[in-house]
């Protein structure tokens, strides 16, 4: 069980991140709700009602989580297949994988899905311990090219194969 575990002074996993995140989200919704009409003729409630209610509840939840943290609750990571949650977080692994997720945002549009995808592929394999980046880029390119052809054939629009080349 990963629920309420008392914190030890030596190891301090994420504590304030969760309540802070929830409070920020609640604040964003409350701010948005101020611009929206709460009530509407005939309908009883207007478009702002749900936004306001969700914002208020999120704020309350954030405060409750903050209270839990003050009382010493820590939020342990979830048991996941293939992951060892007792190990400390590896920033290298995380950032490499995150680069694989965020690079395609720019790359896929300019260089096309197969190339953008191949780079993402190689970055994720790297994050998972592969030590042959060039081989991985090639494998990635083969995988993304096959994917591109197969899905285009199935009627899914994945854009041009290589936009700078115009095809």
């Amino acid at each position: 069980m990963t629920s309420v575990v008392k914190s030890s002074p030596t190891r301090r996993p994420s504590r304030w991140g969760l309540p802070a995140g929830v409070l920020i989200l609640g604040a964003v919704l409350l701010h948005e709700a101020t611009d929206l009409p709460l009530a509407q003729a005939y309908a009883g409630i207007g478009p702002g009602f749900f936004v306001l209610a969700i914002g208020l509840i999120l704020t309350a939840l954030g405060l409750a989580l903050g209270y839990q943290v003050m009382k010493g609750t820590t939020f342990e990571p979830e048991e996941t297949e293939g992951a060892d949650v007792s190990r400390p977080m590896s920033w290298t692994g995380f950032l490499t994988a995150a680069a694989g997720v965020f690079l395609p945002v720019a790359l896929v549009g300019y260089a096309g899905f197969p190339i953008g995808g191949a780079v993402a592929y190689a970055l994720v394999t790297r994050a998972y311990g592969s030590k042959r980046p060039l081989v991985d880029v090639v494998i990635g390119f083969v995988v993304t090219s096959i994917t591109w052809f197969a899905f285009t054939k199935l009627g899914v629009q994945l854009g041009a194969f290589f936009p700078p080349g115009g095809f």
């Binding site: 939020f75 293939g82 549009g109 995808g117 993402a120 990635g140």
Partner: protein, 503 residues
């Protein structure tokens, strides 16, 4: 038309060669993703959505149902042979199943899991066949107030039941609801939470949220805490079969598992975790050899495996009759119905009998296919685990990119995928369950719509929400679900303080 005639008609649809082929594709795909880590049925169906838009809804849902059932079969194989449950519903199976495999009884464990899944899956499907039309008849009296109450009940129950803490379950739910209100308000035409981004004016796509939270979040999380232990696959020699004694010890747990799994699957927030756990506890208590539990008792595999497959059939009941998803996978299937412009609910049985009965009939066929695919071929499926981890997770990312890029080729949506993936990562770091967010996202708009309708009918009087006994009853149950754990918490607190010695 009687239920039997309708079902026979459904078999006529499901037995068409192409539909049989789709059922086989779905079952094989489901078994494969059940075996593989990092990808589950909800994510698979999401990634299939862009591919299936050009198919008929009947063919698409035959595939989806095959994936849903197949994942349960595949998950049990890995639980037994390498002690890594591919699906949450197979967690309990790993307890006894893996011990059995270590004691050289892997073949019997695989057999009781597969045959038990088949028996319970078929019983569950029979119960679904009988219960669904009946419940859909009752649902005809449901008005906006009842639907709103039903959504509230689904909200509270998923938050309370799933995950380790109610507070975090609620955080997840309201995060999903916050995403659900994004976009243009349909009544007043006002933009809500769009922050001036034109791509958000239609709200945020369910596919993006799902792929981000399930796939991207998982890729980031596992990369940041990569396990260094090599997986130990236990070899199974000989045919996958059971001895006479195994049969004697298995058949009662199968039936009891089915009896637990189906009704709990039907209930809001059923899912497959709770019935498997209950079945395990029950078998342990009823067993003549309780000392074997923890060391490889076959009852501990037979019962929970039966329970999780019956629960899957149960989950289909509220989905088809009320349009109410009670698990992440069911939520995705509801989204798929909406993609086709179909609203599951009582009218679906009269307006699209081909679809509903074709899919139900294909569940019977799919179960039989899965038995054949899994019993003799369990070793073949395990070979999938030979795919190196780096390439498996990289491949999952590529399919995620296809799923999102294929919608509208917009970089804004790829950015949303990444950002929500970070949220999914954060959820995993703090053990916040993901399913409540999906239920909130998918049921949120329905809840808001029905609340507004109900209030408009009642001319703004909030008491109309509890005017009918059904709506009031559902809301009371929803409130109790939230209050009971709270009361228990306060009580244990009081007990702790009163038993403490003074001073």
């Amino acid at each position: 038309m009687s239920i039997f005639d309708a079902l026979m008609h459904g078999f006529g649809v499901a037995m068409q060669p192409m539909n049989l082929l789709w059922a086989l594709v779905g079952c094989a795909l489901g078994t494969a993703i059940g075996v593989l880590p990092g990808i589950g049925p909800a994510l698979t169906i999401t990634l299939l959505l862009p591919v299936t838009v050009s198919m008929s809804p009947t063919a698409a849902f035959i595939i989806f149902a095959g994936v849903f059932y197949g994942a349960m079969y595949g998950g049990s194989t890995t639980s037994i042979l390498i002690n890594t449950p591919g699906e949450s519903g197979s967690m309990i199976t790993a307890l006894e199943g893996n011990k059995m495999a270590k004691n050289g009884r892997g073949a019997a464990a695989l057999a009781t899991a597969a045959i038990g899944s088949f028996v319970a899956g078929t019983i569950g499907t029979v119960l679904l066949t009988v219960a669904a039309p009946t419940i859909s008849e009752i649902a005809f009296v449901f008005g906006p107030a009842e639907y709103f109450a039903l959504a509230v009940l689904a909200f509270t129950s998923v938050s309370v039941v799933l995950g380790t803490s109610i507070l975090r379950g609620l955080v997840s739910l309201f995060f999903g609801l916050a995403l659900a209100v994004m976009g243009t308000d349909y009544q007043a035409g006002l933009p809500r939470l769009t922050f001036g981004v034109p791509e958000l004016s239609d709200g945020i796509g369910i596919t993006i949220v799902l792929v981000a939270m399930f796939a991207v979040g998982e890729i980031l999380f596992v990369a940041s805490r990569l396990s260094q232990d090599p997986q130990k696959l236990i070899e199974v020699n000989g045919p996958i079969a059971m001895s006479r004694e195994d049969w004697q010890r298995s058949w009662k747990p199968w039936l009891r598992g089915a009896a637990l799994g189906f009704p709990i699957g039907v209930m809001p927030a059923g899912g497959s975790e709770i019935p498997t756990l209950l079945s395990y506890t029950l078998e342990r208590r009823l067993s003549k050899k309780p000392e074997e539990f923890g060391h490889g008792a076959i009852e501990g595999v037979a019962g929970p495996e039966a329970a999780n497959n019956a629960a899957v059939a149960g989950v289909m009941v509220p989905l088809l009759t009320l349009g109410l998803p009670t698990s992440a996978t069911a939520a995705v299937m509801l989204a798929a119905f909406q993609n086709y412009g179909l609203q599951p609910g009582p009218t679906l049985f009269t307006s699209n009998p081909e679809l509903v009965w074709g899919v139900i009939a294909s569940l019977y066929i799919g179960n039989l296919m899965l038995l054949v695919l899994n019993l003799p071929m369990a070793r073949v499926w395990v070979k999938l685990l030979a795919i190196p981890k780096p390439h498996l997770y990289a491949g999952i990312l590529i399919f995620s990119l296809v799923g999102v890029w294929g919608i509208s080729q917009s970089w804004v949506e790829l950015l949303a995928l990444g950002l929500l993936g970070l949220v999914g990562y954060g959820f995993r770091c703090c053990s916040v369950p993901i399913a409540p967010a999906l239920i909130g996202l998918i049921l949120g708009p329905m809840a808001e719509l029905q609340l507004r309708r109900a209030l408009a009918i009642g001319q703004g009087d909030p008491l109309t929400l509890v005017a009918s006994p059904i709506a009031a009853g559902l809301l009371v149950v929803a409130a109790l679900l939230l209050l009971i754990p709270l009361i228990r918490f306060v009580q244990t607190r009081r007990l702790e303080t009163s038993t403490l010695p003074a001073g």
